[in-house]
């Protein structure tokens, strides 16, 4: 695995994702690629505008949505102070970025693979589908609240089978859970990969254990350093040990951690 680096790079492009991205706070940020050669899908980077003095203090972690030799793209949802400041950046602004970090999703070319994404959790699957040698083995199930155009859904449907489920009210949740279980059942003997909010990951994990599907989850724990040093991001493994989700994850086998 090539070494991660920490560098200051420029914002090449920053736009709301799709016509309704602005009102739903979903942005695509493209940065100069600081020379990262081998980004593996599911890995993430820590981003911190260089102009932030020390307030806020921490960088924020984001999945690498797309990596080309020239640029790194991130799909960012403005949910709090840090993401609001990040999505307010302008082209040409400088961002300190370190990565690529953490463990990636497994790529098993010959295996039918189900991608389960909740909201911005779709981000890593863009790179995953693009880098996969046999995308015909891939299926995406995407749960979302803002309109589909706010997400890079089409970047995936171009390559892989996909279906989307829009949640508009709490009553929709059991329906979505049923869809997840159905899709998982359909992938018995295959591989399931999930990225999204923790309640969603819990659902996926339960279904995977129940149905015996091999399954990886990408956790979204709060992080300060992103490199295993602060111990602020730990998950609990199946033996009750605390393991850093930044370095031992963010992608874990569903049966190896508790949620």
């Amino acid at each position: 695995m090539p070494k991660p680096t920490c560098q200051d790079v420029s914002v090449l492009r920053i736009t709301p994702h799709g016509p309704e991205g602005l009102s739903h706070g979903l942005w695509l940020i493209e940065l100069e690629n600081p020379g990262w050669q081998a980004v593996r899908p599911g890995q993430f980077a820590m981003l911190r505008p260089t102009a932030w003095g020390f307030e806020p203090l921490w960088a924020r972690p984001f999945s690498i949505c797309r990596a080309t030799p020239e640029r790194l793209a991130f799909l960012i949802q403005a949910v709090g102070r840090g993401t609001r400041l990040l999505t307010g950046l302008k082209q040409g602004d400088t961002v300190t970025v370190w990565g690529p970090l953490g463990h990636a999703f497994n790529t098993e070319p010959g295996v039918r693979t189900l991608m389960l994404a909740g909201g911005v959790g779709i981000a890593p699957f863009v790179e995953y589908s693009a880098a996969h040698p046999t995308p015909s083995n891939l299926t995406l199930l995407f749960g979302h609240r803002p309109p589909l155009s706010c997400y890079p859904y089409e970047d995936i449907t171009r390559l892989a089978a996909a279906s989307a489920f829009r949640e508009t009210s709490p009553q929709d949740i059991p329906l979505f859970v049923a869809r997840i279980e159905e899709a998982m059942a359909d992938h018995a003997g295959g591989l399931a990969l999930a990225c999204g909010p923790t309640p969603f990951l819990r659902t996926v994990r339960n279904a995977a254990l129940k149905l015996g599907v091999r399954c990886q989850l990408s956790l979204e724990n709060r992080m300060a350093c992103g490199i295993g040093a602060c111990l602020g991001c730990v998950a609990t493994d199946s033996e009750g040990h605390h393991v850093q989700s930044c370095t031992r994850g963010p992608v874990f086998w569903a049966n190896e951690i508790t949620l």
Binding site: C6, L57, W98, C225, I227, A229, H242
Partner: protein
């Protein structure tokens, strides 16, 4: 100018060390700079047995700072010595072990194990951790307890220098410092974190599972500078300053008020190459401020 500093028998290339708990076991930072370029590395607090630490959440951002309640999660001294220390450049730069234990005897035992290792240059005794139930900060709030721990460690440390790390959560930090000096400490480091708390009105829960945690980062720098100034004037052993250092100018501020060396903590989280960059910038910033040698600059604050 010559950046090196001699500290209780240790020779540091420069006055910038990394602070315990904010620099992992050092190895996490190898991709981002040359560990051997640092003045010293203080590793995450070690205990005799591995500890899982506190439940999550353990960290929270605060204005110009952060709270942590890691609870001294660590791999235990044995695994540190077998797996981590051999991979650290201990011949090129001093590695300091940070010790945590529940009573003076256990501190002594741990000190014995660590001091026997060639790769451990010195011991930093943490009598000031606010995030554990037993002992922790309580040792650091009572002069006689602090002295007892110091004595226990000194008895077992062989020729290795002992640095005692003080808590700012006291009315009179000078009293603790003097007690620890009298008990034989070779050096002091300060400050550890201030006890603080953060809550989430939406969920009505504390932001840390441990409820309270330790405040660090630029927010606490004024308190840290005051402590270092008070203590370094009151004792005859060297003082290592820390608390909110986030620039080369901050390093100079701590030396100006009396520190021999400094530790960089929370700022390591703002970018993993932070400490390496600081070491690179320091000579030029010092020169631009008219500093010609550490000796004459140290403690030269003009209080009129």
């Amino acid at each position: 100018m010559d950046q090196s500093v001699s500290l209780a028998g240790l020779n540091l290339k420069n006055p910038v060390m990394t602070a315990s708990g904010t620099f992992g076991y050092g190895l996490e930072f190898t991709p981002y700079g040359d560990l051997a370029a640092l003045g010293g590395i203080v590793v995450k607090g070690l205990s005799l047995k591995p500890r899982e630490g506190n439940p999550m959440p353990r960290i929270a951002e605060t204005p110009s700072g952060m709270l942590n309640a890691i609870g001294l999660q660590n791999c235990g001294v044995e695994r540190f010595l077998s797996d981590k220390l051999p991979r650290l450049p201990w011949k090129a730069t001093p590695i300091l072990a940070n010790l945590y234990a529940c009573d003076p005897d256990e501190f002594g035992e741990l000190a014995g194990v660590l001091a026997a290792e060639e790769g451990v240059a010195a011991l930093e005794v943490n009598i000031s951790c606010p995030n554990v139930k037993e002992g922790g900060v309580l040792f650091g709030q009572d002069p006689s307890q602090a002295a007892k721990v110091t004595e226990a460690v000194k008895k077992r440390c062989g020729s290795k220098p002992v640095m005692v790390k003080l808590s700012p959560n006291v009315a009179d930090i000078v009293g603790i410092a003097r007690a620890v000096e009298a008990a034989g400490a070779d050096c002091l480091s300060l400050i550890n974190t201030l006890t603080g708390m953060a809550v989430d009105v939406r969920t009505r829960k504390p932001r840390l599972a441990n409820v309270v945690g330790g405040l660090s980062g630029p927010a606490v720098k004024p308190v840290a500078l005051r402590c270092v100034w008070q203590v370094s004037r009151a004792v005859n052993i060297p003082v290592v300053g820390m608390g909110g250092i986030s620039s080369a100018m901050d390093v100079l501020e701590f030396i100006l008020v009396g520190a021999h060396a400094v530790q960089v903590g929370t700022a390591n989280f703002t970018r993993p190459d932070f400490a390496f960059r600081l070491v690179e910038e320091l000579p030029q910033v010092a020169a631009s401020m008219g500093v010609t040698d550490w000796e004459s600059f140290r403690g030269s604050l003009d209080v009129g």
